[in-house]
Assembly symmetry: C2
Homo-oligomer: 227 residues x 2
Amino acid sequence: MAYTYEHPHPAVSVDIVVFTIAEGELKVLLIRRDAAPFEGSWALPGGFVEMNESLRRAAWRELREETGLNAAYLEQLQAFGHPDRDPRERVITVAYVALIPYERFDVQAASDARDARLFNLETLPELAFDHPRILRRACQRLKEKLSDPIIALQLVGKSFTLSELQRVHELILGKPLDKRNFRKKILAEGLIEATGDERRSGPHRPARLYTVKDPSDVPYAPVIKRA
Amino acid sequence: MAYTYEHPHPAVSVDIVVFTIAEGELKVLLIRRDAAPFEGSWALPGGFVEMNESLRRAAWRELREETGLNAAYLEQLQAFGHPDRDPRERVITVAYVALIPYERFDVQAASDARDARLFNLETLPELAFDHPRILRRACQRLKEKLSDPIIALQLVGKSFTLSELQRVHELILGKPLDKRNFRKKILAEGLIEATGDERRSGPHRPARLYTVKDPSDVPYAPVIKRA
DNA sequence: GCAAAAGTGTTTGAGGTACACCCATGC
DNA sequence: GCATGGGTGTACCTCAAACACTTTTGC
C-alpha cells in the first residue's frame, strides 16, 4: 500500500523521555534499537504518529506499546526537525517528557517487549539520532518545572517520606538541599499530609509517611484510597 | 509531480505568532486567507515546511515571505497536531512566537504581499483552524517569559524611555505596575543604560532615553551604533 | 498657571538561606 | 552503645510591594 501527495511530506514521530527514580538515582528509560539505522545503539522510546491520533495520544500509545507503561505525567517538550536528524528520510519528531514513579514500572508487560533499560544520566550509552540533544533539553525543562511542586510528586510512590521527596528534588537539581528549609517549604504548600503510618528501613528512627491530600491537585497522581 | 510513501505522512507547517507594540497597544499580526478553507477569515502567518530546512528556518522564511519582516526574536512555542485541525488533510503545525519592535515593521515589503494587519488582542476577528488556541498559548507563554528582561526589550526600539518599557510590561501582564518599583528592578538588572539624550513628546518633562548596554546580551536586538 | 508625564526613597512583609542538636531505631 | 537517618526552630538577608511628592515642559 502506498500514499501519494502532491508535495513532499516529512514523517512525524513522537519520542518520550521517561524519567523515574530507581536505586536512589534519577534514571531515563532507553530502548535498544533492533533495526537500522543505529541498530544496536540506544534510543528514546517513540514511533510514528498515526493519522487519526493526536500527538499526545501518539506519545501515550508508544509509551504503552514499547514499555507497557501508563504514564503518570506527560508533557510536550518541543518539536525537533533538523533536516538530517534521521538518515532514512525527513523525520520531524515531537518530544514528550513523562514522569513515572518506579513502583508503577512494569516494562516486562510491554506488548512490543524490546530490550529496555533504565540508565543513569551520568553513564549514558551512545544514543541514536539527535536524542542526546532531546535528552539535554528534557533535563533542563525538568529543572525549570521543579518549582511546581507536583513534578516531584509524580516521581514518588503513593506514600513517601519527606526524605524521599527531598532526594527527588536534589537529584533533579543536582545539588543538596537543606532538610529543614525543604520541609518547611513543602509543608507550607499544603499539598501533602501525613498518613499517620511510618516506614522503618534500617538502624534509625522510622520516617513518617505522607500522601497527596487531594489527588485532583496532582493530575495523574497515584490513585489514593482514602479511609 | 507526486511524492509517494509506504506509510501515510502528515503535512507539517509552521505558524508564527508575531507580537508587536503599536499605537500603545500589544498587537498580533494576522493575514487574511485568500483560499479555502477559511477563505476570507484571518489566520496566523505560516506555511508548509520545506524538506531541506529546519523548523526554525521555515518559520523565519515564512515570516519574511508573508510579511517582509526579519524577526527580532523567534522562539518555538509548541507543536499542535489534533487530527482534524485542518479539514483538507492531516496537518501538524509547529508554532513559533516572534517579537518585533514596531519601528522594524515593513509589511508592505512582503514579496508575497497579502492582506496583513495588526490586531488588538481584545478585538480579534474570527480566526481560522485552531489558531485561537495557538494564540492563547502564545499569550500565556509571553507572560511566563516576561521575567526574562530581554523579552520586553525585543518590543521596544533602539532607544526607548523607561515609561515605554514599563508600558510593554503592563500590556503583556494586563495590569498596571508601580513606576518606582519597576525602574528600580529594571535598572538593577544592569542591561540598559541612559544614552544621555532625551525625548520630548508633549506638554510635560522630557524623558531620558535608554539603550541596551551590550547588544550581545540581547540576541537579535536592534543593532546599536556606539560612539 | 495648569495639565501632563518624568523622575525619585523609604518602609514593610514574605520568603529564602544558613545553621546545630536531639530522637528512635537495628545491630 | 553506636551508627544511621528522622525530626525540629531561629536569625538574617534579599526581594517584592505599597506609597506621595517635586520637576519640567507645552500650551
